[in-house]
Amino acid sequence: MTVRDPTPVPEHPSLEEVYEATPFSEAFWTYVNYIILNIFGWFRDFLRRTRIENRKGSAEYNPSGFVPLYQSYESFYTRNVYQRIADCFNRPIGGVPGGKLDLMERVTEDYNWSFNFTGNKITTINLGSYNYLGFANNNGPIADNVIESIKENGLATASSTQEFGNLKQHRKLESLVAQFLGTEDAIAFGMGFATNALNISSLCGKGCLILSDELNHTSLVLGARLSGAVIKVYKHNDMKHLERLLRDSIVSGQPRTHRPWQKILIIVEGVYSMEGSLCKLPELIELKKKYRAYLYLDEAHSIGAMGSRGRGVVDYWKCDVNDVDVLMGTFTKSFAAAGGYIAGKKELIDHIRINSHACAYAISMSPPVVEQIISVLNLLIDDDETREGRKRINQLAWNTRYFRQRLSKMGFIVYGHPHSPVVPALLYSPSKIAAFNREMLKRGVSVVTVGFPATPLVLGRVRFCLSASHTKEMLDDVLKYAEEVGDLLNMRQSKLNPKKPFHETELIAH
């Protein structure tokens, strides 16, 4: 891994995010696209129902008389839109999800209803995995530590944290996480999704109010629902709307009884994975102090990836970590492991230890996974510029700025914050989602393209996930291919950055 620019990149945390308006022609043709798909969908469903066409997929085993397990209209979208482009998703890999990926080649004889493996492996540049700091590795000192840990501590404890699932390693991990983030204490869990879904109910219950950003992840929405609190959603990153909601809610109290709220919790994410945007942390902290609310920050994608020291958005915005009441994050993305954590004051963590569903019932984290995180944390805590941790953070920051600037200059409509390593470029229509994915794969790049329902109907996109393990050469190749495919699909339609060819977009300054 070579570092282009070894000095830390200067930061301008006040940079604005730009969301270019959808070109009218794109919106129009996208709707036409959906209409055509719907018409074909109805027609094919009709053929299937009248048995003119054989129904693919499996059938119910139970005798008749049972209420159908699935309503046919619920899976209309799956059968008629998703199935056509199913080869773009769930692609199996055969090796480390690092900077380069070994995809297992698969072919389909029946239009994506079933796949067969040819046995070949295709090596591609990997812009799809969440490997921000490039720690996904099967050799090296960290892998050696992991192997040692398997021999010393086994693979699992088969007991919950409240019973006998605590090893010395788990305690070490928790104190390292607290040290890394600068909080009093921390607690770790085996799954990031479950960390949100199972712990929000220990913080809020009936009589509380949760103010949740529009684009929050499913785990946050599920956690909020399970808690039983009243949930109000505010427009994405719209601080004025949030303030209005806060004022109106405090004034009118709980619905119907008008009793005052027990507490108000604002739930935001550090980096939003589909938009690439950052939360506006300084304004959020100001609002929460003004109205005495509590702030829950989910740093799944930003921990390790944002901030000059890799400590996440709190580091990036240069805020005080004690102003955020609950810091949550996952170990899956920047640490190349699995699991999640919650950090904050000691009382908070003690309360979670006693009341969390995960602590009482779920099996504690697997020791080799814990060792992987400990090894990565040891590297990242080290503030020395010449050491591995800082080099990777700087490399990621450089890659982010480089890639984003050149991509925008080439005329792609790119969303998100200029410093976020998640780079969505807009495709709009479902056909382009499939086409971009397949064309890039032909050229040896694996990307993630998403459409409805993960994004709004018209705003299908390709989401590049940058990594510190990408070299400048890899990024240049990707950009060149993107230029080709972008022309093929007529994607380079930005009016703010009228399209320039690749060689003219050479980076001059940050």
């Binding site: 019973e163 090893l167 996952t330 993305k333």
Partner: protein, 475 residues
């Protein structure tokens, strides 16, 4: 704008007015009295009726006052520093048949390590090979390059082991059943759930927002009663009944009770009342049945009749994660609808490799291994029954048993004393931990778990220590 009125206009106005007065004179009496009444009514409405209080909108100043006055509760309530969750024992090394606490080794009857696969060298070797091939994390959800060939292999192996069409794996045991139930059962549907199911199932049921009908633990009569009641409602409204899905959610072997569900009768009722059966075999997989295939094997029931079997890789298999097996028709739906599958990173490959090797061992050792664990469970059960003063809950072939003090002596305090005493004699046992908001909080108990490699002497030693503890606590 002045309108000039001509003399003719004034004259016609006067004429009209005169005509009006004349018409009054000629009108019938009832007409005039009615008109007078109306006029009086209007005067009363306008001047004399008490106005209804209209709520005035709050002024900005009042709103600001309310905002300034509002004080939230602290984020978390004060914590009891003596709570057992804050004073857990920290272990060192492999949590296998023996555990090391504070430098001393003790026999482990507390962790869910039924087949003693934790620390097994064959399994560890395969996991090490997986690290050398794949690294540790999978860095993505299944939909976006997080599907690794080893996941597909594990799913196939699990499906083959159970002789089902398809399998699906999850990266966390708790989330498995908690994600499966809401994927199939929605707001309109009905869930018949045993009261004694464990917490993860309760959370899954809550997340589904369906109508829940709890029946008494393992009580078939109660279940039949609920089903009959529902049938009556269905007959009243057959059109609606045709859109309501019904599910029966049970466990093979209940974690909170140690007893086995009465599956044959439930399968009979399935065809009578037309519901689908989802069994959670977290504990019964790898412990019950001649070849470890769970309650369906124990009762010799055709697995095709069960719609979905979900289980955990964290108990007998000694890895991390969970899985579900069934027909493709049922299981495939989860790949797009189960939240814990779609929106979460996939299982680290080393843990999947460990699970495959554990399955290999289970298949190689097969009947001898499972007959051993069932017979040892029976022996332990007999030994425990012979200690006066304890009541033992659980089936005799179940390797998981709940031990309680007889009569009113059964308190958490006394059970904790027993646990502490046992630790001083190098036996590790645990009080079963629950959260207070369980649907049906079980009585305090010590959850004893049998490891298949415990020898008869060790089981005898356990009973001796339990006897001594009883004496100490009740004196």
């Amino acid at each position: 704008m002045g309108s000039s009125m001509t003399r003719g206009d004034i004259e016609s106005l006067a004429t009209d007015f005169y005509d009006l007065l004349e018409s009054f004179k000629h009108a019938p009496f009832y007409h005039i009295s009615f008109e007078i009444f109306l006029v009086l009514a209007v005067i009363w409405l306008v001047f004399f009726r008490k106005p209804r209080a209209i709520e005035k909108k709050l002024t900005e100043r009042e709103k600001q006052e309310l905002i300034d006055e509002w004080q939230p509760e602290p984020l978390v309530p004060p914590v009891d520093p003596n709570h057992p969750a804050l004073n857990v024992r920290v272990l060192d090394g492999i949590v296998g048949k023996t555990v090391e606490i504070d430098g001393k080794k003790s026999l482990n009857f507390a962790t869910f390590n039924f087949l003693n696969f934790v620390g097994n060298s064959r399994i560890s070797e395969k996991a090490i090979q997986a690290v050398q091939k794949y690294g540790v994390g999978s860095c993505g959800p299944r939909g976006f390059y997080g599907t690794i060939d080893i996941h597909l292999e594990l799913e196939e192996r699990l499906a083959k082991f159970f002789n089902c069409e398809e399998g699906i794996i999850y990266s966390y045991g708790f989330s498995t059943i908690a994600s499966i139930i809401p994927a199939y059962s929605k707001r309109n549907d009905i869930l018949f759930v045993d009261e004694g199911v464990h917490y993860a199932i309760q959370k899954g049921v809550e997340a589904s927002r369906s109508h829940v009908k709890w029946f008494k633990h393992n009580d078939i009569q109660d279940l039949e009663r609920l089903l009959a009641e529902q049938e009556v409602l269905d007959k009243k409204n057959p059109k609606k009944a045709r859109t309501i899905r019904r599910f029966l959610i049970i466990e093979g072997l209940y974690v909170n009770y140690g007893d086995i569900c009465p599956l044959p009768r439930m399968v009979e009722l399935k065809y009578k009342y037309k519901y689908r059966i989802f069994i959670d075999e977290s504990v019964s997989f790898g412990t019950i049945g001649q070849t470890g295939r769970g309650v369906t094997e124990y009762y010799d029931i055709d697995r095709q009749k069960i719609d979905l079997i979900s289980s955990s890789l964290e108990y007998s298999i000694g890895s991390i994660g969970g899985f579900a097996v069934g027909s493709s028709f049922v299981v495939d739906h989860q790949r797009l609808s189960a939240q814990g599958y779609c929106f979460s990173a996939s299982l680290p490959p080393l843990l999947a490799a460990a699970a495959i090797e554990a399955l290999n061992i289970m298949e190689e050792q097969s009947t001898p291994l499972f007959e051993t664990i069932m017979s040892k469970s029976k022996r332990l059960h007999k030994k425990l029954l012979s200690i006066k003063g304890y009541s033992v809950m659980g089936d005799e072939i179940s390797p998981l048993k709940h031990l309680r003090l007889a009569n009113a002596l059964n308190t958490i305090g006394r059970l904790e004393e027993i646990v502490q005493f046992a630790q001083t004699r190098d036996i590790t046992i645990t009080v079963a931990r629950y959260l207070t908001d369980e649907h049906l909080l079980p009585e305090p108990s010590i959850r004893l778990i049998l490891n298949v490699e415990m020898t008869d002497e060790e089981l005898e030693f356990l009973c001796t220590v339990l006897q001594e503890a009883l004496v100490k606590v009740t004196s």
